[in-house]
């Protein structure tokens, strides 16, 4: 799996992401600066990591979404290439038009940094094949603006087409407003693009991949991606 991690000014989770990609896929990802206009030849997976690109000025992800490298990322996605967008990356992907909707201020207006539970809605995507459908995983989250909002038609389309990848749930997998800590519509934590090749999610699976941290629940996402490309090769 040849992966490229896009780096914007103010991003701070790119090294966690690169470390995880190397740990699980064995291949060293290429770090691509935002001012570049092309991705390395043969890139399988583009990752837009988390952080605070441009200090969240204007709107989260708004300025990064207009960076020169994003045309190349859009072209990669347009060819059916895989894009994983985490946290600020999810906000950037929405602002860049790679995914529908927008991430608004958390309903309680608080920055929330703790472990949360996610239900994996389906296992038949390159991103979630390392899990079972319905499986609940525990991963960390750290954001102030992760409240997923879209118009009613978009939500109906996402739900109807099975494009909700992850949902915030209780540890037993039940949807409960108490566990939907940021107020997202339908407790949506992660969504897929129309063709299923772009995944945006707020929580950080890259931070739960080693037993020494206390959980390896994030591993399935990266192991699944790695298997996907190994099989394709």
């Amino acid at each position: 799996m040849k992966s490229a991690v896009v780096v914007f000014p103010g991003i701070n989770r790119e090294r966690d992401m690169a470390r995880t990609l190397k740990l699980i896929s064995g291949g060293e990802p290429v770090m691509v600066w935002h001012a570049e206009t092309s991705l390395p030849a043969g890139t399988d997976l583009v990752v837009i990591p988390g952080g605070f690109s441009y200090g969240d000025y204007l709107r989260c992800g708004a300025i990064a979404a207009r960076a020169p490298i994003m045309d190349a990322v859009r072209a990669h996605a347009g060819r059916g290439g895989l894009v994983l967008a985490v946290c600020n990356g999810f906000q950037i992907a929405c602002e860049a038009g790679l995914l529908p909707g927008v991430l608004m201020r958390n309903a309680q207006l608080k920055f929330i940094c703790r472990d949360i539970f996610l239900k994996v809605e389906r296992s038949d995507t390159p991103f979630t094949r390392g899990y079972n459908a319905g499986q609940v995983i525990r991963v960390p989250t750290a954001h102030g603006e992760g409240n997923y909002v879209a118009d009613a038609d978009t939500i109906a389309r996402l739900e109807g087409d099975g494009r909700v990848a992850f949902r915030y749930t209780a540890p037993d997998g039940s949807v409960d407003p108490q566990w939907n800590f940021n107020g997202s519509t339908n407790a949506i934590a992660g969504i897929l693009s129309e063709r299923g090749n772009v995944l945006g999610m707020m929580p950080h699976p890259e931070n739960h991949v080693e037993a020494s941290i206390g959980s390896t629940d994030g591993r399935g996402l990266f192991a699944g991606l790695s298997d996907h490309f190994r099989q394709a090769a």
């Binding site: 204007l58 709107r59 708004a62 300025i63 207009r66 602002e95 529908p100 909707g101 927008v102 608004m104 201020r105 958390n106 309903a107 309680q108 207006l109 909002v149 879209a150 118009d151 107020g183």
Partner: protein, 79 residues
Amino acid sequence: MKARVTVTLKSGVLDPQGKAIEGALKSLGVSGVASVRQGKVFDIEIEGGDKAHAEAALKEAAEKLLANTVIENYRIEVL
């Protein structure tokens, strides 16, 4: 030429920041506040004196960057 672009949330979009400000104003005892919606104002200096050009440039700026038209409306004023 001086211009102003005002960006506001579309009606129906939840505005927790506006709600928090509304609550604070009420707790300060400011009377008659029914509701608050928070927005953004951009004061922009446009080169040259062509008003039509300025309006076109501001529209482009608002559509491409200043507003997220999924959730926000914008208003352009050439002052």
